[in-house]
């Protein structure tokens, strides 16, 4: 195929691709993103290849490798086309049946369909699965239809038509105006209006100007950008080219963290393919507009996700933030004007150009337009990526889409915004999710991490976790962040170790005040949020740790003890055999006992104790009951105890 030299070339190419494809041909699409890969999808893929060969169906059945559809909980996931039947938790042993039954005879393999845990009904269509039913997947939907390594798949779905429209039917000013009217706000965390970044980069003096995709995604517990870049890299590239055209930039960077090797690989392939077809590089679609894009791999530093730090990293130096009064839109990479946006922000651009600002503005709330992808994880039943319009309530996201809390436990809080965010307790669950509401609640939208916590999560431990994280990731440039966090960590470590003192909570508050006003970048300015919100909403847990030396959630190692309830122990020997510290005494027919002086509190006994016995218990804030005397430990009946 030659380079595409005009929008009509692109249109012709699209028609050619579609003409060569038979929409009725049976095909199977297998998710090969990192999540499903962790669950063994490679074996499933190989099995499809072998089975199709064995049944002599090569060429008659297509096999497509696609990106993530979000419901990682139920992976590996495959889709059967043209009927669009979704199978979940597929194993390689299921493959022969799928090929002969579904692909050949068009019969459904019921047990592989999604089964609703409440109604026990199976869902044939994706829209019948509650996890998907309430979503509005403007960005993620294509992940199941596209092989991210094939630009043809993206073009077949109308890809790069927004680029053609922007360059040939709109002036750069009109593009900026459209993004402005759409009220698109940055998806990386700040929620800053995208058009303003573009406008000031465009107006800034200095050449060259740079456009940058931020896929550093350092927030622990978030993987939206990973899924988009792995599953649909071209939609990000298309947005980037449109932005570059609007800004007047001819050089771009895609910054990807090295922890995401598949995203790096797929983006690299996408860039090469787009260049080959003349959709990137010199004289894009024959318009005379050029854009050269390079990938820059991040080397593992949370602070490098901050825009000015990321730009110094692109220069090959240590990624530390710079003072904010020098705007990166004026002096960014090598002191040249630079526009940096998050992966998801760029991916929204083609949608806005194709469908118009009015359409985009009709989705979402007054101040936050469009959809947002959240990474719904932690203690919910359905974990995965969730794309919803702004304005949906936290409760709907967690209960309707997430299916509620695992194991029938009680909801405690949801943590949003990563280490810069905060925890939101039960009483605010009905708040609509948008940039401004979450900020009012003391948390932030952040990039979209949503970690659900239940009664078994200790909020002091959560605060300690984030402070510890930020302490390690602080670049050390500003004293309040470097030293303040270290002191906060020490206090929190003491509290969870049962060495907390009166006045500790107030001291944490003081440190929080100073770090938030006196730090240079957002890492330090927001570092106090996890502490402040946990203190605000869960002060009683702090007090239990400090005053009663008790961890109410039974998490903090130094404050809990493992104990075998003699009433429930069946002398099954499981904990005895598995204890790595040899702290358990027991034998057949004899109730087991933990020697508290030897116990390392690793929790193995608690894990292996059969659920129907639940003899191993955790206790906190009270003395461990004395063990039964030797002679009282004998169990009369083997296996079953009398109740």
């Amino acid at each position: 195929m030659e380079q595409l030299k005009s929008p009509s070339d692109l249109e012709r190419f699209r028609k050619d691709i579609l003409a060569k494809r038979d929409p009725k041909r049976p095909a199977v699409a297998v998710c090969v993103s990192t999540g499903c890969e962790a669950l063994g999808v490679k074996g499933v893929l190989i099995a499809f290849g072998e089975e199709i060969k064995r049944q002599g169906l090569e060429g008659k059945i297509g096999v497509k490798e696609t990106g993530c559809l979000g419901f990682c909980e139920k992976g590996p996931r495959v889709v059967i086309y043209p009927e669009e039947i979704y199978y979940f938790r597929v194993k390689s042993t299921d493959v022969p049946e799928i090929v002969s039954k579904t692909l050949i005879s068009k019969e459904i393999v019921e047990r592989l369909l999604y089964i609703d845990p409440v109604t026990a009904k199976t869902a044939k269509r994706l829209s019948e699965v509650p996890f998907y039913k309430y979503q509005n997947r403007l960005l993620l939907d294509n992940n199941a239809k596209i092989d991210p390594k094939k630009i043809e798949d993206y073009i077949a779905l109308g890809g790069y038509s927004a680029l053609a429209k922007a360059i040939f039917q709109m002036t750069p000013e009109q593009v900026v105006e459209e993004v402005k009217r759409a009220n698109l706000r940055g998806r990386g965390g700040g929620g800053f209006p995208t058009y303003r970044k573009w406008e000031s980069t465009r107006d800034a003096l200095g050449e060259p100007k740079y456009v940058i995709v931020n896929c550093d995604e350092g927030d622990p517990g978030a993987f939206m950008n990973r899924a988009l870049m792995e599953g649909n890299p071209h939609c990000i590239l298309e947005g980037l080219v449109i932005g570059a055209y609007a800004i007047g930039s001819h050089e771009g960077f895609v910054y990807v963290r090295q922890e995401y090797p598949l995203a790096v690989e797929n983006m690299g392939i996408a860039i090469r393919q787009a260049e080959k077809y003349g959709l990137l590089g010199k004289d894009i679609l024959g318009s005379g507009f050029d854009l050269k894009v390079k990938i820059h791999r991040g080397a593992g530093a949370f602070v490098s996700g901050e825009s000015s730090a990321l730009m110094t990293a692109i220069e090959g130096r240590v990624g530390e933030p710079r003072p904010k009064y020098v705007h990166t839109s004026e002096k960014g990479v090598w002191d040249k004007p630079s526009a940096l946006n998050n992966v998801e922000t760029w991916a929204n651009i083609p949608l806005i150009i194709n469908n118009g600002a009015e359409w985009f503005g009709s989705i979402g709330t007054e101040g936050s337009k469009g959809t947002k992808i959240f990474s719904l994880v932690g203690k919910v039943n359905n974990t995965g990526l969730v794309e919803v319009p702004f304005g949906m309530s936290l409760r709907d996201i967690i209960y309707k889409i997430g299916g509620g809390i695992r194991g029938g436990k009680k909801f405690k809080a949801v943590q949003t915004g990563g280490p810069s965010g905060g925890v939101i307790p039960e009483q605010y669950l009905d708040s609509p999710v948008d940039f401004d509401v979450l900020t009012k609640l003391g948390s932030i939208m952040g990039s979209g991490g949503m970690v659900v916590m239940d009664e078994d999560t200790c909020m002091v431990d959560v605060a300690r976790y984030f402070v510890n994280f930020l302490c390690d990731e602080s670049c050390g440039k500003c004293l309040p962040c470097r030293e303040g966090l270290k002191q906060a960590r020490k206090i929190l470590n003491d509290i969870v170790a049962g060495k907390g003192k009166e006045g500790d909570i107030e001291k944490l508050g003081e440190i929080a005040d100073v770090t938030s006003v006196a730090s240079l970048c957002a890492l330090g300015q927001t570092a106090a949020n996890p502490m402040l919100t946990t203190i605000r909403h869960f002060r009683n847990e702090y007090e239990a740790h400090i005053k009663e030396k008790r961890c109410p959630a039974l998490v903090c190692k130094e404050l809990i003890s493992y104990y075998i309830n003699p009433e429930k122990c069946n002398a099954c020997m499981l904990c005895f055999r598995n204890c790595p510290a040899s702290a358990i005494t027991g034998e057949k027919m004899k109730i087991h006992v933990i020697d508290q002086s030897k116990c390392t509190k690793c929790g193995t006994c608690y894990d292996v104790c059969p659920p129907n016995f639940r003899a191993v218990q955790r206790i906190s804030g009270e003395p461990v009951p004395l063990p039964l005397p030797e002679e009282g430990r004998l169990i009369k009946k083997s296996g079953k105890r009398q109740e």
Partner: protein, 150 residues
Amino acid sequence: MIMDRIDDIINKYINEEGVLIQLLLDIQREFNWIPKEAITRINERLQIPVSQIYRVASFYKALSLKPRGRHLIRVCLGTACYVRDSPRILDSVERKLDIKAGDTTSDGKFTLETVNCLGCCALGPVVEIDGQYYGRLSSANIAKMLSSYN
């Protein structure tokens, strides 16, 4: 021999600006750590001060100034994994290998590290060994996971 391999990598980045991090990532991938020879060679050929190379190499988590073992184990301590008990997974791996995070076993077989997030949050707790991901782990299946490496 080692110099040839280092030179091959440096050759890819001649006459380019801001390449230090990319260059060091490639060296890391080739040798599994940043040997001293590589630092002096980069200094000689690209005129980047040794202090600057050390600074970058010691700042970033992915770059290691100590030799790593044959297999790299990364235990995810991201928030989603953390609330699903990943610290206990780390405990059991540490116990099994008798090393602490950041160290290498005496036979040079495993290096154990922690990582802030692997982006497999839905499957937590997650461990990655040499690029292979293991999801939904419990401390009970750690031994089995480790036994397939030699």
